[in-house]
Every structure is written in C-alpha cells, then in structure tokens.
C-alpha cells in the first residue's frame, strides 16, 4: 500500500425496471484485495432542506458487489441523488455521485408475464408476481363476431385465478397490463393469448 488514494468508483448509472432500481458502477480492481462499497442516498427534501444529510442505503452499507438495489431507499416520486465510495480496510475513496438525479417515475414498466390455461370450462390466468406495488388490469373476450371485452383488476400475481367460464365454439383471448399506483403509471398490454374449450356446452 504505497499510500496512494483509493480510487473512487466510476461510471455510475441506474437501471430501473418494474420498480426495481439497480445502481451500478465500474468496480475498483486491486490485485489480491477485496474492495467493498458504501452507498448513500438523498431525496429532494434532503437536497433542498438539509443538503449535508445523506442516508446510508438499506442494503448496501457496505456491499461487495459493484451494484446496489436501492428500491427500498427510493420511497417517493421525487428526484434522488445517489453516491458510492470504495472501502478497503480503513481506507475510503472519495464519493462518486450519480450525474443525473434518479426519479422512480422513469422506471421501465414491461407487460406482465402471464400464463393462460383452462381447467374444465374455467378460463384461468396466472400473472407474474412483480411485488406489492403492482396491480393488474386483465382484459378478456370471446373471439367471435361481436367481440365484447370484459375487464377485471387482480391485486397480485403469482397465483392462478379464474377469469370466466367458457362455452365451446370459439376461443377466449386474454391480455394484461401492469399498474403501479405509487407512480400513477401503467405498462403496455401483453400479447393476447387464446384458449378454446372443446366438446358440448355446459349442461344447464
């Protein structure tokens, strides 16, 4: 250790999809050494009213990877400053600050993964579990001349749920959209998936 300053992490960026916000940076590589990192954040309140205040990230103070899930730190739809520094033993580098503040309303919302199936005459859907901040708008219809769309809101994914009781003679199609109230935004609709029930109609 020639007394050289520990280099600060470079190339900070945030990758955010479906409300999972990942702060990433180029690792500080030192031969035969394990470098740790410490991440801190500051919301618009702190930068406006108490700009000297930075709050340690919930999961990354410290951390060994060159990335940090800051989803639990970003809890308001305002710009957040993020910074990271390297730690080696008692040595710490200078802070590197994310160039552009991050706002969670910029997260990429992808159409939810879904599995459409039938159980007897029941049309069943299972949506991807994207966490507690997500609800889903499910639209379904019987594909025939006068197609009438039906809609249902599902409060969570990860469990197969009945949508409709089908009648033979035409396929039933389903598409779904993810909704995030915390930022007031929705994803695009998924591709429609269709299933059909064979045989005679349900005995009355």
């Amino acid at each position: 250790d020639g007394g050289e300053a520990l280099p600060a992490p470079q190339n900070l960026s945030v990758h955010s999809a479906n409300m999972k916000h990942l702060l990433m940076w180029s690792p500080v590589v030192l031969p035969r050494e394990t470098v740790y990192y410490s991440v801190e954040y500051q919301g618009e309140y702190e930068s406006l009213y108490t700009s000297h205040i930075w709050i340690p990230s919930k999961w990354c103070s410290p951390i060994e990877d060159a990335e940090c899930d800051v989803s639990d730190d970003i809890t308001a739809t305002v710009p957040y400053n993020l910074r990271v520094r390297a730690i080696l033993g008692s040595q710490t580098s200078a802070w590197s600050i994310l160039e552009q503040p991050f706002n969670r309303n910029s997260t990429i919302l992808t159409p939810p993964g879904m599995e459409v199936s039938r159980n007897g005459f029941h049309l069943v859907i299972e949506l991807e579990d994207l966490g507690p901040q997500f609800e889903f708008l499910v639209v379904y219809w019987r594909r025939e001349l006068d197609t009438k769309e039906h809609a249902k809101v599902l409060r969570r994914g990860g469990i197969p749920v009945h949508l409709e009781t089908m009648e033979p003679g035409a396929p039933y199609c389903v598409k779904a959209q993810a909704q995030v109230k915390a930022i007031g935004r929705n994803s695009a609709f998924s591709q429609a998936e269709c299933v059909e029930v064979q045989g005679e109609a349900l005995p009355l």
């Binding site: 919301g43 618009e44 309140y45 702190e46 406006l48 009213y49 108490t50 205040i53 709050i55 919930k58 730190d73 809890t75 308001a76 739809t77 305002v78 309303n105 901040q133 109230k181 915390a182 930022i183 007031g184």
Partner: protein, 154 residues
Amino acid sequence: EFRFGPCRVEGVALPGLWEAFRTVKDAVQVQDNNTSIRLLRCEVLQNVSDSESCHLVHDLLKFYLNTVFKHYYPKIAESNTQPSFSTLANNFVFIVSKLQSSQAGEMPPDKDRARRRFLLFKRAFKQLEIQAALTKAFGEVDILLTWMGKFYQL
C-alpha cells in the same frame, strides 16, 4: 390518489406514509409531555370543504417542511429513523409540488377560510416553547394523515 377539491395528486401511496410514521410515532409522541394541548384541533380540520382543502393542505405541508421537519431533524438523526423520516418528508415535497401546479382558479373566499384555519394552528404552535412545539407538531403527523386520508381514493 388524493383529491383535495380541484387539486389531484397521483403518485403517492398513503399506506406507505402510515408505515413510515408508525416507525417514528411512539418515539416522538412519548416526548410530548403536554397531553392537554393539541395543535391540529377540531377547529382546524373539521368540516373542511373540498374547495378549502387544497389551500389548507398546501399551507400545512409547507409549514411542516419548512419549519417542523427542518428543525426537528436533529432528533430524528439521534433516533436512527432517518429512512422513515425521509419517506415522509420526500412524499410531502412531492404532494406540495403537485398542489402548487394545480392551484389554478383560486377562489378567494375558500383561500381565506383555509388561511384562517391554518393560522389557528400556527398560533397554537407559536404559543409553545420551540422544542415542545416541534415535538408536538411532529407527533401530530398521524392526525394530519388521518385528515388527508379523507381525500384519498384507491
């Protein structure tokens, strides 16, 4: 979303604010030894019309940001509840920013009534010693959230 009369605020999850305050509530309220004084009294928050509500919530949240949160912060740092405090404060910043942008077409009478309610609160705050006032006001965030909840729709 919140609907304070003409002012709509999307992008805030009220349950999250409750969760954040619950973390700091007991530590703060136990420091408020004066149980005979309530700043956010009925005269301030009861029977607020929709059209008044936007002005009143704007004034109250601005006061909380500029005065209560700002000067109470050292105690928050001591009690190691910064993340919860940050959640509350940053969501209040967001709400105020949205209220400001939608306060078009202000109706003077409503603004005046709201202003009088807010001054009742502020006067009561000023009558207390500053640290006691800050502690009491911060401890009354649940009263504020309860009132704001009346204008919240899922």
